[in-house]
């Protein structure tokens, strides 16, 4: 097997008295699209910036394409494509001018027009940055990451804050990059994005890796296919719920009951019978296929969105 494109072992990053990354081990194979999934403040951006050679780790080892960061690392940088969170490009420059500028930093790479075509911005070549929408600006920053024709791409929250159609456009671009065999490390707090784009995912929270694997394997690790959510006007004891057929896990918070189950068709009739017997009324009953969100909830004890500021 070829050597991994990205490796970190025992990665720690401390800012004053805050521990952003707390002993992280990761390995990303060449040609793989790897996702760091976690809520805001989980240490995803810090981890990526350590890989990018922008932040020095407090402890631990990092290898990118078999090399370590030393000095400015220009030779290594020439092989990487980097998209940062929320870059504000100069408003008064044209899209084509920014691409020409970034292209000049690389000895070899794509023609600026080609990079723009790949992110579907070919027609905006002469437009001022000021006139671009949020999605278009995000695609411009992707084009800047692509213009050096990199072997490894770092995408930090590429779709945060975008509307659904812009998000799907970005996904299509990333899927095209995967087809071209590029190694991609992306961070996201959208489980839907991780499930769709990533070959493998590491779930991180508070700077620690909670689990890693393919999205399907992580969901399967719950030992359950379905999640039953129930809102009631009275309390039910957990032991009775856990004893219901096919129930793997019970979690109760804020009046919301969440049962992870193998077969909802077997659980639900028994659950309704239990409610009737206790005289508790169901205000809402819903069931859905288990997702990475449920994996995260099971591992971290809170939801992916829970540390996001109210939008």
């Amino acid at each position: 097997m070829s050597s991994p494109a990205l490796v970190c072992r025992g990665l720690v990053k401390r800012f004053d008295d805050v521990v952003a990354v707390d002993g992280l081990d990761l390995e990303v194979a060449a040609g793989e699209c790897f996702g760091l999934l976690g809520p805001n403040g989980a240490g995803k951006t810090t981890t990526v910036e350590i890989f990018e050679g922008l932040t020095a780790p407090t402890a631990g080892e990092v290898e990118v394409l078999g090399e370590r960061w030393r000095g400015a690392g220009l030779a290594l940088r020439a092989r990487l494509g980097i998209q940062l969170q929320e870059t504000r490009f100069p408003e008064k420059l044209r899209v084509g001018e920014i691409l020409a500028l970034f292209r000049s930093f690389y000895r070899r790479g794509l023609e600026p027009a080609e990079a723009l075509a790949r992110v579907d911005l070919g027609e905006k070549r002469r437009a001022l940055v000021r006139t671009l929408s949020g999605g278009q600006k995000q695609r411009l920053s992707l084009a800047c990451a692509l213009v050096g024709d990199p072997e490894v791409l770092f995408l930090d929250e590429p779709t945060t804050g975008l509307d659904p159609s812009s998000r799907r456009q970005i996904w299509a671009i990333v899927e095209e990059l995967k087809r071209r065999g590029r190694t991609i490390l992306l961070t996201t707090h959208y489980m839907e994005e991780a499930e769709r784009l990533c070959d493998r995912v590491a779930i991180v929270d508070h700077g620690k890796k909670l689990a890693a694997g393919t999205p399907a394997a992580l969901v399967a690790s719950l030992g359950a296919e379905h999640v039953v959510e129930l809102e009631t006007d009275g309390a039910l004891d957990e032991a009775a719920l856990a004893a219901l057929p096919s129930v793997r896990r019970v979690r109760q918070a804020d009046g919301l009951l969440r049962l992870t189950v193998g077969d909802a068709a077997r659980t639900i009739p028994a659950l309704l019978a239990l409610l009737a017997a206790r005289g508790v009324e169901a205000k809402r009953l819903a069931t859905h296929q288990a997702t990475l969100e449920d994996v995260f909830l099971a591992l971290a004890g809170h939801t992916l969105a829970s540390e996001e500021p109210a939008a």
Partner: protein, 350 residues
């Protein structure tokens, strides 16, 4: 040719300089402040402080028996503008400074004036001469008069080099400060560092972009001053070019230093004003810095804008060669070198 163009297109230094230049030219406010404002300021101040032809001295004549005769004699001299008024009005006008002197009525005239006012003593001389001659005095000597109206000694001549120096300072510092802090706040600097860009090239591009405008900026203001305001240009073009280039470099370096850590436009604006304000006052832009006490002169002379203004005046007004400007050029070079070295050390990229 196309090979050269391709090479230029792939040179980070060219691309960074080009981006910076284009960005600046698309900012209409910047064009106004850099190119038009100094010209407008020169015109406004030139008009306000223009040298006027000598005006006749305003003198009052107290109403009475001899008033008409004396007023006629004074008016005939051409150097005094007499007005006849009663004693009370005359007193008020004299106090207000609208009259320099009043001739009181009486067989022998009495001159009423405040001897501490230079204008009044002049008025006494002119008035007395006119009245004596009218009374029949004949002067034993009749000297001729030669008026000096040489260019180069007017206020506007003093002002223009100062405005040029101030503009070189302001443009260098504001343009660099704003663009760098904006790029830092918008994470552009971080993205540049993440790409395989050599860091010195970004700073060098700021300097190069500054030089693109420098020639234009100097040419517009000086062209206007020499062409329309008849400000003299006695030195050599080469000396002027070197002084302007060294001055611009010193202020680009100072701008880099001031903008080396700030994260917000507000922060850098405050710092810029803090650094530039003393120089607007002490460096002899609008008035000579010789008015400040001897004690603070060494500090004033060490300021980069003082050195630049002194050198510009020496080249434009006195036509001095570069060899005579050693200390000014050394001060500018020292500011440039020290600030650039410090800026490189302190610079915050992300």
């Amino acid at each position: 040719m196309s090979g050269l163009r391709a090479r230029l297109a792939h040179s980070p230094l060219v691309q960074l300089t080009r981006a910076r230049t284009v960005e600046f030219l698309r900012e209409p406010e910047a064009i106004f402040w850099v190119f038009l404002f100094p010209v407008l300021l020169a015109v406004a101040l030139g008009v306000a402080f223009r040298n006027q032809p000598p005006q006749p001295v305003a003198v009052g004549v107290e109403a009475g028996a001899h008033a008409d005769e004396r007023a006629r004699a004074l008016a005939a001299s051409g150097r005094v503008a007499p007005r006849i008024l009663d004693r009370e009005t005359a007193s008020a006008e004299l106090r207000a400074g609208r009259l320099a002197l009043v001739v009181l009525d009486g067989a022998t005239p009495t001159y009423w004036f405040d001897p501490t006012r230079p204008g009044s003593r002049l008025a006494r001389l002119e008035t007395d001469g006119a009245l004596q001659r009218a009374a029949g005095r004949s002067d034993p000597l009749a000297p001729g008069e030669l008026e000096m109206t040489e260019k180069g000694s007017r206020y506007i001549d003093f002002l223009v080099p100062g405005l040029l120096g101030m503009n070189l300072m302001g443009t260098g510092m504001w343009a660099i400060g704003f663009s760098l802090v904006q790029q830092r706040a918008g994470k552009m600097l971080k993205l540049f560092v993440a790409a395989p860009m050599r860091r010195w090239q970004l700073l060098a591009a700021q300097v190069l972009a500054r030089f693109v405008f420098l020639a234009l900026e100097v040419a517009i203001l000086l062209g206007f001053a020499v062409g329309f305001l008849e400000v003299p240009f006695r030195g050599s073009l080469a000396a002027l070019a070197l002084v302007c280039a060294l001055g611009a470099l010193a202020f680009v370096a100072l701008g880099l230093l001031v903008a080396s850590r700030a994260r917000t436009i507000e922060g850098v604006s405050g710092l810029m004003n803090f650094v530039m304000f003393p120089m607007w006052i002490f460096s002899g832009v609008f008035f000579s810095n010789q008015r400040f006490p001897e004690l603070v002169q060494p500090a004033i002379q060490a300021l980069p804008l003082t050195a630049l203004n002194d050198a510009l005046r020496a080249v434009l007004l006195d036509g001095l060669p570069l060899a005579a400007l050693g200390s000014e050029l050394a001060i500018l070079a020292a500011w440039g070198a020290i600030c650039f070295a410090l800026a490189l050390k302190l610079f915050r990229w992300m």
